[in-house]
Symmetry: C2
Subunit: 369 residues, 2 copies
């Protein structure tokens, strides 16, 4: 008997993963992180109402979840004042991006994104054989004009655009996004990743116009709602494209506990508002800590702050390494010149104290290297 | 702006789903089922230790799950006395079947299964453009000989074989399965779905030989472990094929709560054993109820019993419809002659009583139709 051959496409795919998890690093170091500030998780957690709902659902976990995600879909439809047929719920935005790539990408299909933007999108596009074309960030922002120009140049099937952006925390106004939508080539789908949009200033998210045929918007319970570990994301788009997810998705893929938790979290908008406030406070704290250390924090519309370490990528990487060794889990952008920065998620007092304490040492250590 | 075109393959896929969920039927009927006996869920639930672990994990759900599933993978490796590199954990067997199809199936790739076997496997094969070839059940059992013969005839890339079988509850001995493995064409992968194998008699599961290059075995926490709603499955296979899942899987796709629950469930083998006993009792109860009503229950190595209603598919369907209307959720095989049967999941006393009470009426109603 011989090995079973993978498809020609699968054979070409690397076994690398988009992100290394903090647990992997903890196992390698033989110790736990003091402050978990690398994955833009929300240490403020989900609403107590959501935790109660998940606890209750745990006893019911012998049942499969509702494959229609009916209750959550209806609640989201009401929350956004749109028809439920415009919404598809999936296993996080990552899961939805995978389904979307499967629906639209064939070997060679051109796709446009920004160099240094969300790597999991690239992972899925490449995973279906799509050809990625990138444009550079401009002033630490994704650049709508060059995205559109490149999409026209290569006849792109998709443009990926995160607003606000990860890893830089930068954002564009709803007006800019609407201009981008107006300028889309007619056969190009805009994948508008709004994972962080609830944390952005009013005027960042364009009004929902879910009938727009070539825009799909991605939202999540992983960030502001504090439920990253539950894997609940959703997409808003035109009914026909949304219905197409039923052709390929893992219909019974959603955890019943996660369904219950997300529904409860959505219902507790007071808690949600309190998280927004805590994030704003923490953003200011990170900014202040950077300043005290002679560094400049970039403006952020997310639950993290990207800090310019003032030198090159090698220096920022040394700062990151030192912080990690000191128990502070953070990440950093991968591409020049954004790799002069480190990216620090918002946290509570204890995380902020730990970061404030560790940063000066890390900067000193990096200067010596 | 125009609609965005799906890939040629996606365009051909139907929007039908492999299964309609019981919640969909409840919404249509405007009432809840009294007894949920249609999806082979385990009403005996997960271990209290697992429920406690999930409750504890709910407070930690702001963290992404470990993308390596390290703790669960190590525990499963120990449980099965194999190296962890032979194990991949995913979002239920359904999720793993989707990844496997993606790794192996290209448009036109021939695949062999039994007509009337698990439809979600077919959904994923067809979803990647594979060509399904079917062989009939023989005496309500999947038939290894005809599966092999067909695989040779069509140069199949995969054979799907569930042992024990769903929807019939039938099974083959480990010796028969080992013969099937010995007879595999060298370029054919056996997908051995063992979702129910823990519920089968000793001697049903062949010894694990995970280095066998063309066998992958699927296991789950959805059945005997009573955690269908948590979406935790795993596959055991040769290291290279297992590693290939990392090329395509949703690395952060597992719920952190589910990871914790499965780990705890695995640790409580006393509870697991008590479920096996309860399932055996319930199988006998369903068999007795059938007999009292003049029907023959098929032998079962699973947590459900398939009952021969003694007439044709139209009659069995009428029985099913009547039971559903009476609040008893069940399903039935889809293919002649197995569609003479209804399939009833094991349950506790209250479910058994409800079924026993509803069946005579359903049989009478079906006679009239």
């Amino acid at each position: 008997m011989t090995e079973i051959a993978l498809t020609a496409l699968a054979e070409t795919l690397p076994s690398t993963v988009p992100f290394v998890g903090p647990e992997t690093q903890e196992r390698a170091m033989g110790k736990q992180f003091t402050a978990r500030l690398g994955a833009n998780e929300s240490v403020f957690g989900p609403s107590p109402v959501a935790i109660a709902a998940m606890t209750k659902a745990a006893s019911d976990v012998w049942k499969y979840g509702d494959p229609e995600n009916y209750n959550l879909r209806e609640a989201l439809a009401q929350h956004h004042s749109i028809a439920p047929e415009h919404i598809i719920i999936g296993e996080g935005i990552d899961g939805l991006l995978a389904y979307l790539a499967r629906l639209l990408i064939e070997p060679g299909t051109p796709v446009v994104t920004s160099a240094g933007a969300y790597p999991t999108f690239n992972f899925h596009v490449t995973g279906y054989g799509g050809k990625l074309h990138t444009v550079p960030y401009v002033n630490d922002c994704e650049d709508p004009e060059s995205l559109i120009a490149k999409a026209i140049e290569v006849s792109a099937k998709m443009i990926y655009f995160a607003n606000p952006d990860n890893p830089m925390g930068s954002w564009h106004s709803a007006n800019v996004v609407n201009s981008l939508i107006d300028d889309l080539p007619k056969s190009t789908l805009l994948v508008l990743d709004e994972a962080y949009v609830e944390l952005a200033p009013v005027g960042t998210a364009p009004a929902l116009r879910p009938n727009t045929p070539n825009v799909i918007r991605m939202r999540t319970f992983s960030k502001a709602y504090g439920m990253a570990g539950a894997r609940v994301g959703y997409a808003i788009g035109p009914k026909k494209l949304i219905a197409a997810f039923d052709k390929v998705r893992n219909h019974f893929g959603m955890s019943r506990i996660s369904q219950a938790g997300a529904l409860a979290a959505l219902s507790d908008q007071n808690y949600f508002d309190s998280v927004i406030e805590k994030v704003q406070i923490s953003r200011q704290q990170i900014t202040d800590i950077a300043q005290v250390n002679g560094l400049e924090a970039l403006p952020s519309a997310t639950n993290f702050v990207t800090i310019d370490c003032g030198q090159d990528g090698r220096f920022a990487h040394a700062v990151l390494q030192s912080l990690i060794a000191d128990g502070i889990f953070i990440r950093m952008p991968s591409i020049v010149p954004m790799d002069r920065c480190i990216r620090v998620s918002c946290g509570d007092a204890s995380e902020m104290d730990a970061f404030a304490k560790a940063l000066p040492t890390a900067l000193k250590a990096a200067q010596i290297i």
